[in-house]
């Protein structure tokens, strides 16, 4: 492989990696905000995303909505469903025995229910493609080529992240979320409604996952297993430190670029195992991630 091709691959890998990475970053963001505020690793995150893609597909193909109406309806639907899950299931689980293992298992249960439900509709097993609203065509940046769809994905993902960061950092609601993440009891003492704040976090997480789904769905084939992409989001969150929002975003881009470079330079088969190797390496050598700050010793 001569240097010219290496350079070309590098450019293309980074450009495509930024696009897929932006979607991983969104999913990682949804994981991290839930983990930070409610201490739950949401194993149903991938299925939120999968269910969102199918809900949009059903709204368009079966109900006959145009895509500009279906997309927001779907985002709202998934966000509300995530909020309901918190309200109906997680609150009850926490009350029954509030250890985080039980909450995690409940999210695992939800992931299976959603997968089974999509499969039972009969549309889950044959891969389907999703219509794109963006016209075909591409632009060339340096020597890398990106389609209009790629640019739209990257732009929309960045816009959603910016909007969420604004909410999280600048509004009262966002401050309540951060407070709950720091110290639940103290947050409650100063008058924050814990249940409502946690529900809002789940609603945001659901909405963000739904946006990620509508962005990337036209590029991927839809199956009931498409939620498996969440392992890349977990890898991204871990690279970023799992409790850091900017970390999740940067981690998403790192994972996206790493995935594309592995695909170009090593082999497409190696892509499948790369995220797990990254998760293990980061956890073993730098478990606090890039943005997790210093390792904290928990005192009793």
């Amino acid at each position: 492989m001569n240097t010219e091709i290496v350079f070309l691959f590098l450019q293309q890998g980074i450009a495509s990696g930024l696009v897929t990475g932006s979607v991983y970053a969104l999913l990682a963001l949804a994981l991290v905000i839930v983990f930070r505020t409610t201490d739950v690793a949401n194993f149903a995150e991938g299925e939120f995303y999968m269910a969102a893609a199918y809900l949009a597909f059903f709204l368009i193909a079966l109900v006959g909505l145009p895509i500009w109406a279906a997309a927001p309806a779907m985002v709202v639907g998934i966000a509300v469903a995530a909020g309901l899950f918190q309200r109906v299931v997680l609150r009850r689980v926490a009350a029954a025995r509030g250890v985080s293992v039980n909450l995690v298992i409940a999210t695992l249960g939800l992931s299976y229910v959603l997968k089974g439900f999509v499969r039972a509709t009969g549309f889950g097993d044959t891969p389907r493609s999703f219509p794109s609203v963006v016209p075909d065509g591409s632009v060339t940046l340096g020597q890398a080529s990106l389609s209009y769809l790629d640019l739209a994905i990257l732009g929309a993902a960045l816009a959603v992240m910016a909007a969420f960061f604004a909410v999280f950092n600048l509004t009262r609601t966002g401050r309540a979320m951060r407070a709950v993440g720091m110290n639940r009891r103290a947050a409650q003492l100063v008058g924050i409604n814990l249940g409502r704040t946690e529900r809002l976090v789940w609603i945001f997480a659901g909405g963000i996952s739904a946006v990620a789904a509508i962005l990337i769905a036209p590029k991927l084939l839809m199956t009931a297993e498409m939620g498996g992409v969440v392992t890349l989001a977990f890898a991204a969150a871990i690279v970023g430190g799992f409790a850091s929002l900017p970390g999740a975003v940067v981690g998403g881009f790192i994972i996206g670029i790493a995935e594309n470079l592995v695909g170009l330079f090593v082999s497409t088969r190696a892509i499948n195992v790369a995220p797990f190797v990254i998760i293990m390496l980061v956890l073993i050598f730098k478990p606090q991630g890039l943005f997790g700050g210093r390792l904290r010793v928990r005192k009793v």
Partner: protein, 305 residues
């Protein structure tokens, strides 16, 4: 698990070993074998999650290591059944020890994710290490050798599988009642308090992790006595979740719960095999409902009343 329950299990297993091969059809005996393998698997996961309170999501990987090791050592080295089973268990234990050393510094979600990543990476290895595992074509398992005789059917295998399972149940029940079992539970309840009464927390966790991997590997060895084929598809996260579901539904921390959960849920999973979408929905639904209304497991729920 009380001595009385253990005796009942022993009587049941010995009775079934005598009666089942004579009375039941091959398929029923096959299900019996499979359920017993699930019992060993869930007792293994019970040690690490139920007793020691550490999350492990790599159980199917250790199970797979046991299956491939036992099958290959029987095929290539011609080892007899028990040696092959122990080889599977030991190699799985060794891998468990290595992963444990690396990841047991972490807790909760980090431990869950690192073991999850190891499990997925192992499934990838099973799928891509074609010269050894047969890769996506799967691997034909040679008949196990017991006292120089090949085991050729499910019916012939059942008494052996039942015998090994009985030994494992007795050992795990003994472990639960032993000082080591109490050390495990002390670590589960509070690492600080455990350390304060002189328990080496790190070593205790490692031991639980290694023992759990050993039992998963041994379950893999048991599987090779009656099965003729293994494919990496059945060694993924889904299998880990199935076993996790068994111990969660049965009651985390209870030996009887792990045993009962394995039997009941193994049957449910086998009955629902024809309708995978409903299988997933029912698994998921059961997990959610148990977590909501019986977080200590359905068997402990019955026992308390």
């Amino acid at each position: 698990m009380s001595v009385r329950v253990l005796a009942a299990v022993a009587v049941l297993l010995i009775g079934l070993s005598l009666a089942l091969p004579a009375l039941a059809t091959g398929y029923v005996v096959y299900i019996g074998n499979l359920l017993l393998v699930f019992v060993v698997l869930s007792l293994g996961l019970h040690i690490v999650i139920g007793e020691a309170g550490q999350f492990s999501l790599a159980h199917a990987a250790f199970y797979g290591i046991g299956i491939y090791t036992a099958a290959l050592s029987s095929k290539v080295l011609g080892l007899p059944f028990l040696a092959a089973l122990l080889a599977g268990g030991l190699l799985a234990a060794l891998c468990g020890l290595a992963i444990g050393i690396l990841s047991l510094r972490m807790r909760d979600i980090y431990l869950a994710l690192s073991t999850f990543a190891f499990g997925e990476a192992m499934q990838w290895v099973f799928l891509n290490w074609t010269p050894v595992t047969g890769g996506p074509n799967g691997l034909a398992i040679p008949p196990a050798q017991v006292l120089g005789q090949p085991i050729l059917s499910d019916k012939a295998a059942f008494p052996i599988v039942a015998g090994v399972t009985l030994v494992v149940v007795a050992l795990v029940a003994g472990l639960h009642a032993s000082g080591l079992g109490r050390a495990f539970r002390a670590v589960r309840e509070s690492e600080v308090a455990a350390a304060a009464v002189g328990i080496d927390v790190r070593r205790t966790k490692l031991l639980a992790f290694t023992l759990s991997a050993f039992l998963a590997g041994a379950a893999g060895g048991l599987f090779t006595t009656f099965s003729t084929f293994i494919h990496p598809d059945s060694l993924g996260f889904q299998t880990t979740i199935l076993v996790l579901t068994m111990i969660v539904v049965g009651g985390v921390g209870s030996v009887t719960g792990a045993l009962g959960g394995a039997i009941v849920f193994g049957l449910v999973s086998e009955l629902l095999r024809q309708v995978p979408s409903y299988q997933e929905m029912i698994y998921g639904g059961i997990l959610i409902l148990v977590m909501m209304y019986a977080p200590r497991g359905v068997f402990t729920l019955v026992g308390r009343r």
